[in-house]
Amino acid sequence: MKHLLKAPISKEQVLEFKLNDIIYLSGKVFSIRDQAMKRILDEEKSIHELEGAMIYNCGPLARKNGQKWDLLSAGPTTSSRMNDLAVEFIKKFKVHAIIGKGGMNTKVLDAMKGKCVYLSAVGGSGAISANQLKILDVEWLDLGMPEAFWKLDANNFGPLIVTMDAHGNSLYDKNDLEVDANLQRVLAIK
């Protein structure tokens, strides 16, 4: 099913999403990855804006143009690097969605139950995403451009595929099982 959504999304909406649903998202999205997540958790920063937020695992390519930033390319980054951080993040901020690529592990899938979904953006599609997102603000540029805390305004950002729902189902896990069975079959052929 295709959904056009406006952030923030409610918990009820989160619970309704099914695997393979396609989402186009508008509204506020926060680009946070390894270092910013770590800083928020290590320094126990309580960032009001993150309550129920949409987190985007992304390291954007942007250019400063006078006072404002232009977004040039902004596809997803590999989310599994943030598996451990995400579990704490979901607990602390009641994040409603994590957007990224490659999926996350079962610890995250468990933590997401009843409150959060994982949405997959198409890896490498930076040029398209940059047309759908605008930079509102940035903090912590001392972490470097990819790792800074970017606040973005999304305009029909997508397609985002629901690949991990709020009920313990993961498309990645399903496919991994098939891949493993295929691997055993292929390896058995000499």
Binding site: K101, G123, G124, M145, N182, L183, L187
Partner: protein, 298 residues
């Protein structure tokens, strides 16, 4: 398919011997990076288009469509097709390999980072402080009269899925095959598949890793001159595509677009096997700088 700028464009600058070599190299390095991060080589784009046409699984087909659209948007807007403009490796082949080439490359990367721009991707590994973009340069001596410089800007998503296996000699061809298939089955999903697989067999450990990456300088359509390796490449490609990792690890017919192998002699007690996975954004470009100042990009 209309393309801008044309990939094989010949530029005339002043002869490198007359003007400053360092400046020429800097300009070439910047131009190589610009073209490489914006547009994919034709053979890669064709392979992706074929993957799209043949795909039967909906979630894979939808994503391949976005990938192809993204290539078009980047070309039209003249911006980087993927935000991860990578860690930058240069491969330089020539007769007179001087420090001016190194300095020119560093100048070119600095200019490219600012002008294209590239994402500043290099950090101190322990403090994680960002230092811009630090290129790596690999030299090879050649007898050709021209100087050849190739670039591979490679993102971390796929680079993080690299591996080195120090197998036992008795593991043989079967062991090589098993190590590679198992690795791809477990890791390819994070490397933005459909992938291009580079494999280095033999050599010293560091040579095997370098060879694995050097495969990404070849056209996907190139043939391996060694019949044993050519057969192994074909077999692995078929078998990898039977794994069903598919586009972005969500299933599908195409997990890999191509498998390439480079091999070197190794110690009688060793069997190194290195794997370097390239994502669908398989970016590469080469320039030839001739004595008379002519420069060709391809």
């Amino acid at each position: 398919m209309l393309k801008f700028p044309p990939r094989a464009l010949i530029l005339f600058l002043c002869p490198p011997t007359l003007c400053h070599m360092r400046k020429t190299i800097a300009l070439v390095a910047e131009e190589l990076l610009k073209r490489a991060v914006i547009g994919l080589p034709d053979d890669v784009e064709i392979a992706l288009a074929n993957a799209y046409s043949n795909e039967t699984k909906e979630v894979a087909k939808e994503q391949l469509k976005i990938i192809l659209e993204n290539i078009g948007v980047a070309r039209k807007n003249q911006t980087a097709l993927c935000q991860d403009t990578g860690t930058i490796s240069f491969f330089v082949r020539g007769k007179n390999l001087t420090s001016e080439i190194r300095d020119g490359i560093f100048d070119g990367v600095l200019a490219a980072t600012k002008n294209i721009p590239l994402r500043p991707n290099s950090v101190n590994p322990l403090t994680r402080k960002n230092i811009g973009n630090h290129p790596f340069i690999h030299l090879e001596f050649s007898d050709n009269d021209y100087l050849e410089i190739s670039v591979i800007p490679k993102g971390a998503g796929c680079e993080n899925m690299s591996a080195l296996f120090m197998l036992r000699p008795s593991d043989g061809l079967e062991g090589v095959r098993k190590a590679i298939l198992t690795h791809v089955a477990q890791k390819a999903k994070n490397a933005c598949p459909p992938i291009v697989l580079g494999i280095g067999i033999g050599g010293t450990p560091e040579q095997a890793m370098l060879s694995a990456k050097e495969n990404h300088l070849k056209k996907l359509t190139s043939k391996n001159p060694d019949p044993i390796l050519a057969e192994l490449e074909a077999r692995l490609l078929t078998e990898i595509n039977e794994l069903g990792v598919g586009t972005m690890g969500l299933g599908g017919l195409r997990t890999a677009l191509s498998v390439k192998i480079l091999s070197h002699p190794c110690h009688t007690a060793s069997l190194p096997v290195a794997v370097n996975i390239e994502c669908w954004a398989d970016r590469r470009l080469t320039a030839r700088i001739f004595k008379d100042g002519k420069i060709e990009y391809f």
